[in-house]
């Protein structure tokens, strides 16, 4: 689904991504761990066509990132640190706006908006302006926004931050059903346990490269912790 070869991204003279290779088969849930400043968000931004790589090739769903940005954008959904929604608009207006931007017709759109509002527990806030929502509620709206056009790939940057246990469970449920529907997920997280719990594959991003990749089934929480610590120790040396 996602193929990355030799990806390099520089900001000024600093190489943030340095010849990164990564392959994510369709239907996989990949969790990415790594220290602050390792380049995780940068990687996600490049996949989302929000930043231009300096070199390397990236394909998403067979589309070439350098040429087919619009096609890639129509198959991905992105959840980031900030919710990316308009405070002056109501919850449902936000979802309608983004749905229409992605080309949903009026009939299908209403049904999709209802469906998302119900499944994320936002139905009772549908007519509230999103600026008065609590942070967790806004994050749910952000997730609904990312799903509104039925993407086939979800790119998530620390999506659990700021969610209470209940909202966190709602998110987990949504992600699982997304994956059960054949979706591919790339999730960045600092929460090793959460990453392990959700994912099929785990990857460690250190200094702009994938330092290690493992199958989630082949490790447990303690093993993961150990792996991370030994990579971090090598990183500091």
């Amino acid at each position: 689904m996602i193929e990355i070869k030799g990806l390099t991204k520089r900001y000024g003279n600093r190489k943030v991504l340095n010849g990164l290779d990564l392959s994510v088969p369709a239907g996989t849930f990949l969790s990415i761990f790594g220290p602050n400043g390792a380049g995780k968000t940068t990687l996600l931004k490049i996949l989302a066509t929000l930043a231009r790589p300096n070199s390397g090739t990236v394909t998403v769903d067979g589309w070439d990132l350098a040429k087919d940005g619009a096609e890639i954008r129509s198959v991905i959904g992105v959840v980031s640190h900030s919710p990316f929604v308009y405070g002056e608009l109501t919850v449902e207006e936000n979802l309608r706006f983004f749905g229409r931007l992605f080309g949903l017709g009026p009939a299908g759109l209403e049904a999709r908006v209802r469906e998302l509002l119900d499944s994320l527990g936002l139905a009772h806030r549908a007519r509230d302006r999103s600026e008065i929502l609590s942070r967790g509620m806004r994050q749910r709206l952000a997730i609904a926004r990312a799903l509104v056009h039925r993407p086939r790939v979800l790119l998530l940057d620390e999506p659990h931050v700021g969610l209470d246990p209940k909202a966190s469970a709602v998110l987990d449920r949504t992600l699982r059903s997304f994956k059960d529907g054949g979706g591919t997920v790339v999730m960045i997280t600092h929460d090793l346990a959460k990453g392990l719990e959700m994912a099929d594959r785990l990857a460690f991003l250190f200094r702009g490269r994938m330092a290690r990749e493992v199958e989630a089934a082949r490790t447990d929480a303690a093993g993961l912790r150990q792996m991370y610590d030994s990579l971090a120790a090598g990183d500091n040396a």
Binding site: Y11, G12, N13, R14
Partner: protein, 235 residues
């Protein structure tokens, strides 16, 4: 690092300085005073420098615009450095052109400025545009964004010059005043002096740009080093 070795820059200065001396001599002594048609014949001598600095500033701004386009195509930082350097030096020459022009105009026409004069007017537009160009660079910290945004403005700026020019023709008609052309027939001695002045200023411009490029290269390296040491480059 980009730029030209110090030796070559010095060599250029060694060539430029005598040419500049010669230009001063020719403008002030060698060139004849215009025989007729000028209210202040000796004030005409400043005109050699005026034309030379004005011409050089146009060259400088064109270099900036071209370097901006090349930067947007190649994303190679040295073209951004060149664009910035040429804009700064160009602005300096442009300021000199406006000042010398006003001094001459005061002596010749009795006024510092004539809005109807196309060349004065275009020079003013350029001056404003590239002043803003340098202004906006100071307001963007991220290096790549700074280069990208200012390159776009560099292109817009040069685009606005012919547009302003054609607009001014209409405007000048609307405010009818005696139209004055600032070219007259040049006597041979004046032409020689003018050519030498243009050559001198162009050499001087190239020298200054090379020095400025060098300086900017050092500045950027310092930023890099500070960053590597974990310092905020702007503290």
């Amino acid at each position: 690092m980009v730029g030209v070795p110090r030796k070559h820059r010095l060599a250029l200065l060694v060539v430029a300085l005598p040419v500049m001396m010669l230009a001063i001599y020719m403008a002030l002594v060698y060139a004849p005073s215009p025989a007729q048609g000028f209210a202040a014949p000796d004030a005409q001598r400043i005109f050699h420098f005026h034309v030379a600095v004005a011409w050089t500033s146009y060259v400088a701004f064109i270099v900036t615009a071209v370097a901006s386009v090349v930067y947007l195509r190649t994303r190679s930082e040295k073209f951004d450095t060149l664009a910035l350097s040429s804009a700064e030096i160009g602005l300096m020459f442009c300021t000199a052109a406006i000042i010398t022009g006003s001094i001459w105009a005061r002596a010749e026409w009795g006024t510092f400025w004539r809005w109807e004069d196309m060349k004065l007017f275009m020079t003013l537009v350029l001056w404003l545009v590239y002043l803003s160009y340098i202004g906006v660079r100071g307001m963007i910290q991220a290096r790549e964004t700074r280069a990208r945004v200012s390159a776009v403005f560099g292109v817009l700026g040069i685009l606005c010059v012919p547009l302003s020019f054609s607009a001014n023709r209409i405007w000048a008609q609307f405010h009818p005043t005696v139209l004055v052309t600032s070219t007259g027939s040049l006597q041979p001695g004046m032409l020689h002096a003018l050519i030498v002045a243009v050559v001198a200023m162009t050499l001087f411009y190239i020298y200054l740009v090379l020095e400025r490029v060098e300086l900017e290269g050092l500045h950027l390296r310092l930023e890099d080093l500070k960053e590597e040491m974990g310092d905020d480059p702007d503290e």
